[in-house]
Symmetry: D2
C-alpha cells in the first residue's frame, strides 16, 4: 500500500511522461487556432468538462470571448467560431454529437483526446493527442491512477501552458489578467 505522497510521485511521473510525448506541431496548431479565433466554444463531460471550464476562465481573463456548451448564456455557434472538444476516450457520445453539429455549422473543430483515430478525430481541423499515461490509450502501458485522472491533469497543464504562451504573445501581464478576473465572487 502506498501513502498519498507516493501516489503523488507516481502521478507526477505519469504526468511528466504524458506531457513529454505531446507532438510539438500539434501544440503549435492548437495555440494558433486559439489565437486566430474570434470566439471559442468548449465542450467536454465530467472532469474533462470541468478542466475546460478552468481554461475558459483563463481565456476570459485574456479578454477573449469564450462560451461553455450547456451554459445558459451560451449563444449559437457560427461558422467563424472555434469549437474545442475534449474527451479522453474520444467516444463520449454527447461530445461526439456536439462536434458533429458544430462541424455541420461550419465551425473549426479542435479536438484533444488520447485516442489516435475515430470519428471525433476525423472531424478535427486540429487534433492534439495526450497519450502514454491514460487507461484509454491503446499504444502504451496503462496509468496506475484511477480512470482518466492523468488525461484530465495533463489537459489542465497543457491548456495552462497554452494560456501562458498566449498571455506572453499578446502582451498581457498577470496583473492585467488579475484586473480582468471576475471582481465579484
Amino acid at each position: 500500500m502506498m501513502n498519498s505522497q507516493e501516489w503523488i510521485q507516481t502521478d507526477l511521473r505519469e504526468l511528466d511522461r504524458m506531457l513529454s510525448l505531446i507532438n510539438l506541431e500539434e501544440a503549435e496548431a492548437l495555440g494558433s487556432a486559439l489565437l486566430q479565433a474570434e470566439r471559442v466554444f468548449v465542450m467536454g463531460r465530467g472532469r474533462t468538462g470541468l478542466v475546460l471550464e478552468m481554461f475558459a476562465m483563463r481565456l476570459t481573463q485574456l479578454g477573449r470571448q469564450v462560451h461553455i456548451i450547456g451554459s445558459p448564456t451560451t449563444p449559437s455557434v457560427q461558422p467563424e467560431d472555434l469549437f474545442l472538444a475534449a474527451s479522453a476516450s474520444g467516444k463520449t457520445e454527447s461530445v461526439r454529437l456536439a462536434a458533429e453539429q458544430a462541424a455541420l455549422i461550419g465551425a473549426k473543430i479542435v479536438v484533444i483526446t488520447s485516442r489516435t483515430e475515430g470519428e471525433l478525430n476525423q472531424r478535427a481541423a486540429v487534433c492534439l493527442h495526450l497519450t502514454g499515461g491514460d487507461k484509454y490509450s491503446v499504444d502504451t502501458e496503462h496509468s496506475r491512477m484511477p480512470l482518466a485522472s492523468i488525461f484530465e491533469q495533463g489537459l489542465l497543464v497543457l491548456l495552462d501552458g497554452v494560456i501562458a504562451e498566449m498571455a506572453e504573445g499578446i502582451g498581457i501581464s498577470p496583473e492585467a489578467m488579475a484586473a480582468r478576473h471576475a471582481n465579484i465572487e
Copy 2:
C-alpha cells in the same frame, strides 16, 4: 388535504395577486434600465438564482450581453454595467455583499425583492417589489406555498414579461430568438 391540482389553483391565485400588485412605474424603470444597459450581470442564490439564469438565457437570445455572477466565463464588472440582484428576503448575505461590491465599482444596481426596506434596497437605482404572496413580506398575509416559491414563480413570470416587451420593442421575432438559441445542446 389538497391534491396537486388544488395546490396549483391555490398557487395561481397567489401568483395572480402578487403580480397584480407590481408597481407599474417600477416595472417600466426595470425595462428601461435593461434596454439601456450595454451588459447585464445577474446575481441570486438558490432557486432565485436559477430563475435569473433562465432570464439570462432569454437575454442572450435577444442578442444582449449578459453574465451570471459565479460562472467561469463572467468578466469583471465595470461602472457602465447593470447589476441585477434578486432576493426574496432581501437579506441573502452573498447577494448583499455582491451588490455592495458592484455599487463600489459604480455599476447601476437594480434589485427585485419582497422587502420594502433594508440595505439591499438602499443600494438600488431601481427597486422592484414583489409582495403579497411571499412568506417574507411583512405587509400582507403569508403564502400557503412552501418557502419563497411564489416569489420565485412571480420573478420568472415578471422577467418573461419584460423579455416579451423587449423583444417587441427591439423588433426581434420569436423566430429570430430561436435562431440565436444555443444550437448545440
Copy 3:
C-alpha cells in the same frame, strides 16, 4: 405594443389555461411515482433543466434523495431509481438519449412534455402532458410568449404543486423544509 404588465396578464391567462388542462390521473400518477421512489434523477436541457434543478432543491428540502444528470456528484442510475425527463418539444436529442439509457438500465421513466406522442413518451411509465399554451403543441393555438416560456412556467407551477402535496402528505411543515434548506450559501 403591450407593456410588461399587459404581457404578464397575457402570460397568466395562458398559464392558467395550460394548467387547467392537466389530466388529473396523470398528475396523481406523477405524485405517486415520486413518493414511492427511493431516488429521483432529473434530466432536462436549457430553461427546462433549470426548472428541474429548482424542483430538485425542494425534493432535497423534503429529505428525499435526488440527483441532477450531469452534476459532478451524481451517481450511476440503478433499476430501482426514478428517472424524470422533461422536454417541451419531446424531441431534445440529449434528453431522448438519456431516457433511452435509463430505460435500458431498468429505471422507471417519468416524462413531462407538451408532445402527445413520440419516442420519449413511449418510454414513459408515467407521462404528464402540458399542452394548450405551448408553441410546440400541435392540437391547440400557439402561445404568444417567446419560445417555450409557458411550458417552463407551467412545469414550475406543476412541480411546486406536487411538492406542496408531498409535504402535506409526508407531514413536513414549511419550517422543517427551511431547516433542511442549505444552511451555507
Copy 4:
C-alpha cells in the same frame, strides 16, 4: 518568448516543487479526516472550486456522500459533517464566511491553502499547506505561471493522490469506480 512546451516544462518544475514541500503529517491528517467523515461538503471559488468539483466526482465514485456548496441538491451541513474549504490566498471572502458558518454549526473544518496563517487557517481542525509555487505564498519565489494556476494544479494532483490512497485502502478497484461513475451523460 517561450513556446507552450517550454511553459509546460516550467509548470511541471513548479508543480513538482510545490508537491514535494507538502507536509506528510498534514497529508495523512487530510486522508484520515476524509475516511472518517460520513459526509463531505466542499467549498471553493473560481478554478479552485472547479478542482473541488473534480474531487467530489471521484469521492462519489468511491461510494462516499459528498456535496458541493451552492448546488441545488446540497442539504444543510450538520455537526458530524466534514467541511473542506480551499483557497489559494486564504482570503476569499465567501469561502471565509462559509467556513465561519460551518464552524458555528460544529462541522469539522479542513482547509487547503497556500497561506500560513489567518482566519481561515485558525478555523481548521486540519490545515494542509500548498506552498512554494504560488504567487500568494510569502516564503518563496513567485510562480511564473499566471495567477494561482500552480496552486490549482497542485490541489488537483494532491486530491487525486488522496483518492488513489483511499481507493486502495477501502479496497475499491478502478473497475468498481467506473461502475459507480455516472452512467448517463
